[in-house]
Amino acid sequence: MNLTSNFDFCVELGIHSVKEIFHLAFKSEDRYPHNVGPLTRDFSGRAFTINVRVLDDEDKPADLSFQDDKHILFSFPFELQAQTADAPDPALSEILLEAQAAIPALLTAWDEDGDEVLGLSFFGITSADVDISGLSGVPSIGVEQFRNAVHNAYEAMPVHTFSSGGNTVTLYDGNRDSTLVPPNAATPYDIEVALETITAEQYLKVTAPIHVYLPSVPFVGEYSSFGRLIFYRKIEQTDTSVTIDMTAEPTNTDLATTVELDNPHVASSQIALSLAAQARGMISAFGVITEPAFTEAAAKQLLQDEIATYINTRRYPVYSPRSGDEGEPLSTPVGFLLVDDGVLAILLNRRSGAAADDIAPDNFLGDSELALAVGAAKVQEEIQAVIAEKFPGIGSDDGELIETPEGDAVLYELNVSLADPGEHEESEGHLWITGKTKVKIDCWWDPTVEFSGPVFMRAHREDSEEGCELVIDSPVVGDFDFDQSCCDVFLEIIIPIAGWIALVVIEITIDRVGGEVAEDIANEQGAIIEPIPPVVNGIAEITSCLIGISVFRDGFVFPGELSIRRLSRSAEDLRGMRRMPRPDP
């Protein structure tokens, strides 16, 4: 099993813990403002005010998943409100786009307040990196919106009565202008619109009620009649707007403006023709109607652009180790995501090679919330140190004399290696100890004994009012009665070595991985320690407890438990606690 790759230490956290830290991080509104804006944007010449809201609540939770070994894919619910002051259709003055945005963050390390932190960075995210799904709120522009726009444009006209050469045409739209004389009695009563597709182009067909008055008509003198003005205007659509230029009559003669009059007259066709020419100018008074109308593609692009702008300066720490030894600074933590297993692995203290040689370790987290591992090379380093301190004579010609009331022996060799479960016919991982000693026997030649055997390392968690502690059980050599006199002496040589190895390796691991050793405890062997950094910069407090020890050929693993709580309170917290600031009485 690859526990630490080319590094000395590795910490693994489950995706659940990473999510917990992320949610806490995301509640820090000073780091991650949930409301961005107002921002001013221009679409098709129309000024829009944009407000962006990012959500992470019960109804619309943010989430994350592991995308590849270096990227976490975040999923944020976004709301984008786009407002424009003068939309022809008032209903289109404000649109609210809602979507789920998936954004990849890079697992990387950086310096924060002088500390190396490992975290997730959105730096460099572009619109193209933002994936939008579940988009809603894109307004569909239909006949209703055009009708409203035309009504709105009618009301915006300064006059509704148009005179030319003595002829007067009054343009009605229901009773929107109640000052008109004569009052509207035309059919239709309101301006009607319809969408028609003609030769693959979309046109707005407008039927507007009118009254005409001609003071001098051959044969009859004056002539007046209610009637209808019928005209077509081409609809031009862009990604962000729909425009109808009322001033431009289609070139297609079939779509020419026509006037229909209710009162019959022998020259009514001539009258209508002459009025139609006059009506073109009148229609131009509607101006150019432009509706904010985002296509789905444009709405997505808008969201992508705004989200990229929002996110590409954000990053948040996940792991904030701090070296306790100025002489041995902590090397940059390197993270890997084990996608299939849902595990975040953080490697610390590169032992060999360069960054290009770094590879992901295996999943040793199992069912634990947290697990620390120390690599075999580092363990072996400490094993040699412990042996050298305990038996400094080993390796010399004289060996190490061990004197006991029961008898003496000279220890010449002692080697401790790590073994996987299954090795040496043992189902449990273990230390495999080999050695060579000469046993002193009274009145006989001293036999040389070569020995080897497994030592099983176990540990358990104990809790007190002061917190939790990891108690390294007395190492187990086998199924032996400990009080077997000479056996006892032999075990007393082997067992303390194994115990010290475990103690030193665990403490060094904890120290290097970034925990603290806070202070001495009087008259106790133990020290106050933090298995992993007890704080994620500015975000969360972490309480961790180690609960055991497992031995593998590739190193030691210490499984643990985690609890995570937020470092500060947000407005949401205060609201939940009914402690929101109140105005002065």
Binding site: G407, V410, E507, E516, E519, G526, I528, I529, P534
Partner: protein, 286 residues
């Protein structure tokens, strides 16, 4: 530690070499050799002198049977017999008494056994809890004590000098993350569990507290309980010391136990751990 003490014995400093059995003349009283028959006794040792002179040869014989190596530490007499060595009863007694304890402990054990036998008019059996109870409460008329949950004092199995060096391997304690606002200060510690107590490490020099009389006299008295009588009666102290010495001796297994261990039916640390035992062999002269 003197230089003399550090020097380990070699074939040159061990008892004087003797010719190998194959070179012995047939019919010699103390030694006979029948090499060709594996079941027959190759070496017949009838007295201590022969044991000394044939030692190197005996070593070679034992070395040749690697399976027996660890069994020497289970019961050397049975291991030698299995290797084909015939031992007279005096030689067996000599080997067992020599191996069970080193000289200083052996002398102290004999001194205590003699004194206790005189005082109690019977051989002392301190590792027998029923015998201990009868001796203390009936023969010596001692008042039974209310020991409750008290445990004896034990001497440390660790060498304090080596302990000090090992302590230096632990990382220096540095105060990090001092700005934590509200979390309990102590969330984790690491501690090494003490080795299990062992009778052989009972501290005879430690003081025991004064205890109230027990309401009832126990039928059996363990060595852990005997510990609390050591300062109130010299016989009790001698019994405890003798028990400790007995526990410090090489445990010599019975024939049955020896067989069980050899066949792997009973666990034993020597059998499990000792892969090879090599005894010094005589030098072969060209």
């Amino acid at each position: 530690m003197t230089e003399k003490k550090r020097k380990t014995r070699t074939a040159k400093t061990a008892p004087q070499k003797t010719p190998t059995s194959s070179k012995l003349k047939p019919g010699k009283k103390a030694v006979s050799a029948e090499i060709n028959s594996p079941k027959a006794h190759i070496i017949d040792i009838r007295d201590e002198k022969t044991l000394g002179t044939l030692g190197p040869q005996l070593n070679r014989l034992l070395n040749a049977q690697s399976g027996l190596a660890a069994m020497l530490f289970i019961n050397p007499v049975l291991a030698m017999k299995e290797a084909g060595v015939k031992l007279s009863q005096p030689v067996v007694h000599h080997i067992l008494s020599r191996l069970r304890h080193r000289p200083t402990l052996r002398e102290r054990r004999e001194e205590l056994e003699t004194r206790l036998k005189e005082r109690l008019c019977e051989p002392p059996r301190p590792n027998n809890s029923a015998w201990l109870s009868r001796t203390l409460f009936e023969k010596l008329q001692l008042q039974a004590l209310d020991i409750g949950d008290l445990t004896p004092g034990y001497t440390s199995p660790h060498d304090p000098v080596a302990e000090k060096r090992l302590q230096a391997l632990r990382p220096k304690r540095t105060h990090r993350y001092s700005h934590l606002p509200s979390r309990p200060r102590r969330t984790g510690r690491v501690r090494l569990q003490e080795l299990p107590p062992s009778v052989r490490r009972m501290d005879l020099n430690a003081n025991v507290p004064e205890l109230k009389p027990a309401k009832r006299t126990p039928k059996r008295l363990s060595l852990e309980d005997l510990y609390f009588y050591k300062d109130s009666n010299p016989v009790a102290r001698d019994l405890l010391e003798l028990a400790i010495i007995q526990r410090r001796g090489l445990r010599l297994h019975s024939r049955y136990s020896y067989r069980q261990i050899k066949e792997g039916k009973r666990s034993n640390v020597f059998r499990r751990w000792f892969r090879k035992v090599t005894l010094p062999e005589p030098e072969i002269k060209e």
